[in-house]
């Protein structure tokens, strides 16, 4: 009997997509110079699995491509070939090709046969082992824009930039900080806010000291918000006219305690800037140095050309149009010719920044064949990291991804939801039994009581574990961004480091699915508009490598996801001008927050040029809409020249809510605890009326509109006297209101049920839930209540 294979297609598509994702995360995390055999095996296994099942199902294009891929991987695995960065690129592209093939088989789009064939050819060539890229010409065309200074041993120069918080600026915080810095060493103030008025503004200090960064870092963190300060170990200061060139031959044997950053430490001196490594030339070596080059599409980094007699290499080309990076001519290497030494092994790395490190085989201290690029900001990482941009996330993601996929089963979400519903019922039944036992009081048998107590514990545990099925770590979303950043920064010619934290923060699966697109958009936006081009960054005194931080953490009942960049920040004037152009109501008096929020308006874009990345003005409004649809919100903070931070706040899950139950008459309502500010019992005369219509109550100096739930919902039997009930102060969407109810009942975690599924939207009600006794309670929509209170006021006034 013939088996209809098509019924298994969906499983195959899902599995293959999973294998591809694993492969990609492994590839991105792969240490090119020293690949972990285990990781290579894992990549090989992923490709092999796809090939196997593709063959079974008759998807020949997939199996052919994976076959070639597998051949190459196999040779690398068996160490017949050495892994090179261009191979990793080819693998990644092959992964993309396979993805589009999968999509094509699922009826989405088509695959360009020529592209597929070209890639297959490329893989074959790589597999044949022939293709070793020719060393690109290396040049010293540009003089170093910044001259690394000579610093005496142990003395370091810190470049400190910060914007103090209003509180510390108003107090003595900043003054004390500056005084403390003066005690540590020589302090030069390069920029400070205008005296008088508040001191909230941009400070730029330069400290020359023997002390370490930790001596003042904490204090700085205290007076300025996280993200609003930056310390850079700087070598690009004015240090007495010392020249970069002098350094290399001038200070051999300088104690170098920064070796841990991944610099190669041959006998001569290594200098590092806050984001560059400098090469370790071997000036006195008789043989022409062999260059190991990490070449990048938009290569930046420090090119260490080999110069003869203090002359830049003649005839060499700087192929990098944007020409950033420091070119440090290597001082005379006696036997070095102008071109000969350049020939060496070249490792190409997508858009990495690399440093050219002359390696002499004769020098034993040179352990690794590949130069290590280092961003100085990553000071906490003591080991050499070949792919620093992704190092923060990838190893962890790579380690967790295979484990997660190996030990999981695929279950439909409906089944999980059904389970959650059933457990909910179980909890209600258990509560009912408990109630019965309490009513029996002393006559209840001991064993019944203890059995019920155990049942309660077990059901609670069961409920918790069932709920946790839906929770996934946010790394599922974050893990795709290294690739997004890698590809996009390459395309835009920018150098960007992505740093992520809080990947283990868990949130509901439905949120995970829906947050991906908005987050991707925010990151693309930061990359395109936020991070400046490397030249501009250098001109602004920043490291040419921009940083995008992606952070997730819990705060209250919310999960907070921050997308921050250290780019140019939003341009207030430009946004205002654009808003006027579009005929929006704006004024100079608008607060920064209001101005920045304009970028969420539909069709709003301040990009001068429409790129294929962004600038069409669609997107930010969609981002905001999507986030609001999830019950979350997005805020922008930005400082010109410092950076921008988008903060997305989401409820932990769409299914559970921390609620406070309130009683009005016989009815119970649930208020989301997150929006309850406080509750108080009004005294006689606390409630004032406006024009005899709207009522207000004064709470801590603020007049808040009063919403009487009894009147709003036409409930009978509720307390009418204000002094007999409770005012619950609610806050939503930045506005506050006082809700008058009979009494507060308690605090519960409630499972949100949709009213719309079988009924329809009810004004001022966001959903319903089932209480412990099996009754339904409605969850109040606080923003609608607050909005109603607001709209009542002007009407009355």
């Amino acid at each position: 009997m013939a088996i209809d294979m098509s019924q298994f297609y969906q499983v195959f598509f899902e599995e293959s997509a999973e294998h591809l994702a694993t492969m990609e995360s492994l590839l991105l995390g792969l240490d090119v110079g020293n690949p972990d055999p285990e990781e290579l095996n894992a990549i090989f296994r992923a490709a092999h699995s796809i090939k196997g099942s593709a063959g079974t199902f008759g998807f020949t294009d997939l199996s052919e491509t994976t076959h070639i891929l597998e051949n190459l991987l196999d040779r690398i695995r068996k160490q017949e070939l050495e892994l090179r960065a261009d191979m990793v690129d080819a693998f990644l592209e092959a992964g993309d090709l396979l993805k589009s093939m999968l999509a094509a088989h699922q009826g989405q789009g088509a695959v360009d046969g020529a592209v597929a064939e070209a890639l297959r050819q490329r893989l074959r060539r790589l597999s044949a082992g022939g293709e070793v890229p020719v060393a690109p010409p290396v040049t010293a065309a540009d003089p170093p824009p910044v001259a690394p200074p000579v610093a005496p041993p142990g003395i370091r120069v810190f470049d400190i930039q910060f914007v103090p918080t209003a509180a510390s600026a108003a107090g003595d915080g900043v003054t004390h900080f500056v005084d403390d810095l003066k005690r540590l060493g020589t302090l030069a103030v390069h920029g400070k806010p205008d005296p008088g008025g508040d001191q909230v503004g941009f400070w730029h200090l330069r400290l020359t000291t023997e002390a370490g960064q930790d001596a003042f870092e904490e204090q700085l963190d205290f007076i300025a918000d996280a993200g609003a300060w930056r310390i850079a170990l700087d070598t690009s200061c004015d240090a007495d006219g010392a020249q970069a060139f002098g350094l290399f031959d001038g200070s051999p044997g300088t104690p170098e305690d920064e070796a841990g950053y991944g610099f190669f430490d041959p006998p001569a001196r290594v200098v590092e800037d806050d984001s560059f490594g400098f090469f370790e030339p071997l000036p006195t070596h008789p043989a022409p140095p062999k260059l190991v080059v990490i070449e990048a599409d938009e290569a930046y980094g420090l090119f260490e050309p080999v110069a003869a007699k203090h002359e830049p290499v003649s005839g060499a080309q700087n192929e990098e149009a944007e020409g950033y990076g420091f070119f440090v001519p290597l001082p005379a290497a006696p036997a070095a010719g102008s071109e000969a030494p350049v020939a060496g092994q070249v490792v190409e790395e997508g858009d990495g920044f690399g440093f050219f490190v002359p390696v002499s085989p004769a020098v034993p201290v040179q352990p690794a064949p590949v130069a290590t690029a280092v961003t100085g900001v990553q000071k906490e990482s003591p080991t050499p990291q070949p792919m620093p941009r992704e190092s923060a996330t990838k190893p962890r993601a790579a380690a967790s991804a295979p484990a997660a996929s190996d030990s999981s089963i695929r279950v439909s979400v409906e089944k999980v939801d059904q389970l959650i519903n059933l457990v909910g019922e179980l909890v209600i039944t258990q509560a009912m039994l408990q109630q019965c036992a309490i009513q029996l009081q002393d006559s209840a048998p001991e064993r019944l009581v203890s059995g019920l107590a155990q049942l309660e514990r077990n059901t609670r545990d069961l409920q918790e574990s069932v709920m946790s099925i839906r929770m996934l770590p946010i790394s599922f979303v974050f893990s795709r961004f290294p690739r997004v950043v890698r590809d996009l920064s390459g395309k835009l010619g920018k150098q960007v480091e992505l740093r992520t934290s809080g990947e283990t923060t868990e949130l509901d699966k439905s949120l995970i699915e829906r947050i991906t697109d908005p987050l991707t958009h925010l990151i693309r936006n930061s990359l395109d508009h936020g991070i400046e081009s490397p030249e501009k960054r250098v001109a602004a005194g920043k490291s040419p490598v921009g940083t995008i931080t992606l952070k997730a953490y819990h705060q209250g009942g919310n999960i907070v996801i921050e997308v921050g960049d250290d780019g140019a920040g939003l341009n207030r004037q430009k946004i205002l001008a654009k808003a006027r152009e579009r005929g929006l109501q704006v004024s100079e008096q608008m607060s920064d927050g209001d101005v920045f929020n304009l970028i969420f308006e539909a069709g709003f874009s301040t990009a001068d040029q429409v790129t294929d990345v962004s600038g069409r003005g669609v997107g930010m409004d969609v981002v905001r809409r999507n986030i609001q649809a999830m019950g979350g919100r997005v805020d922008i903070e930005s400082m010109a020249g410092i950076g921008t931070r988008m903060t997305v706040r989401l409820p932990l899950t769409l299914a559970i809510l921390d609620g406070m139950s309130v009683a009005v008459g016989d009815h119970t309502y649930i208020l989301p605890l997150a929006s309850v500010v406080e509750s108080l019992q009004p005294k006689e005369g606390d409630i004032k009326t406006l024009s005899n219509l709207a009522r207000v109550i004064q709470v801590r100096g603020e007049y808040l509109p009063v919403v009487v739930l009894r009147e709003l919902f036409n409930l009978e039997g509720a307390v009418a006297d204000f002094t007999q009930g409770i005012m619950v102060i609610l806050e939503a969407d930045g506005s506050k209101a006082a809700l008058f109810v009979d009494a507060l009942v308690g605090q519960h975690q409630v499972v949100i049920k949709s009213l719309e599924a079988n009924y329809r939207r009810v004004p001022c009600v966001s959903g319903a839930t089932i209480m412990g006794d099996g009754h339904v309670a409605l969850i109040l929509d606080v923003s609608a209540l607050a909005g109603r209170a607001k709209s009542n006021l002007p009407k009355a006034a």
């Binding site: 519903n421 059933l422 909910g424 019922e425 209600i428 009815h667 709003l712 919902f713 036409n714 409930l715 049920k753 949709s754 009213l755 719309e756 599924a757 079988n758 009924y759 329809r760 939207r761 009810v762 004004p763 001022c764 009600v765 319903a768 089932i770 099996g774 009754h775 339904v776 309670a777 409605l778």
Partner: protein
């Protein structure tokens, strides 16, 4: 049987297929609805009131984890006497992918009828819109009002759905 004899050449085959109907009473009237639309029958328990809803929407109940709105058809059909006794039942209907509860005085029977047995109702502009009446049927000298429950429940006057639906 009489049904099979009626199956002459003039009648289409589908008319021969008997369908089962659930009959229930509202006051003195007896109604019949397609039994395939009925999910279950349960006793009446006081639902949770929904503010500012029309009076015939009694509120919502918890049916094994799902929130189900309860409609009192007696109020909707303007019956004089509406009281909730231990015999008051709720018919849980499954129409248009929604679960809705309808309060009726009592459920009487499940009967089998062919479409032929259902006669068109006379056109009268009563309080109850005849467009939801499929017809009238006589079974054992009782008159049954056969109603299209799905259309009734999804209609705009029931106010059970958002206007956008």
């Amino acid at each position: 049987m009489e049904i099979t004899q009626a199956g002459t050449a003039a009648v289409a085959d589908e008319d021969l297929v008997a369908s089962e109907y659930l009959t229930f009473t509202l006051g003195s009237e007896e109604y019949a609805i397609d039994i395939l639309k009925v999910q279950e029958i349960r006793g009446y328990e006081p639902p949770t009131l929904i503010a500012n809803a029309p009076p015939f929407i009694k509120g919502v109940i918890n049916l094994r984890g799902i929130i189900v709105p309860i409609v009192d058809l007696r109020i909707k059909f303007n019956l004089a006497q509406v009281e909730y006794t231990p015999f008051t039942v709720v018919i849980i209907l499954n129409v248009a992918n929604r679960v809705i509860g309808a309060v009726v005085d009592s459920v009487s029977d499940v009967i089998s009828m062919t479409p032929q047995q259902v006669r068109p109702a006379p056109d009268f502009s009563a309080s109850f819109d005849t467009k939801y009446i499929l017809g009238l049927a006589t079974v054992e000298n009782r008159m049954l009002i056969v109603i299209d429950i799905a259309q009734l429940m999804t209609s705009r006057d029931m106010e059970l759905m958002d206007a956008a639906d």
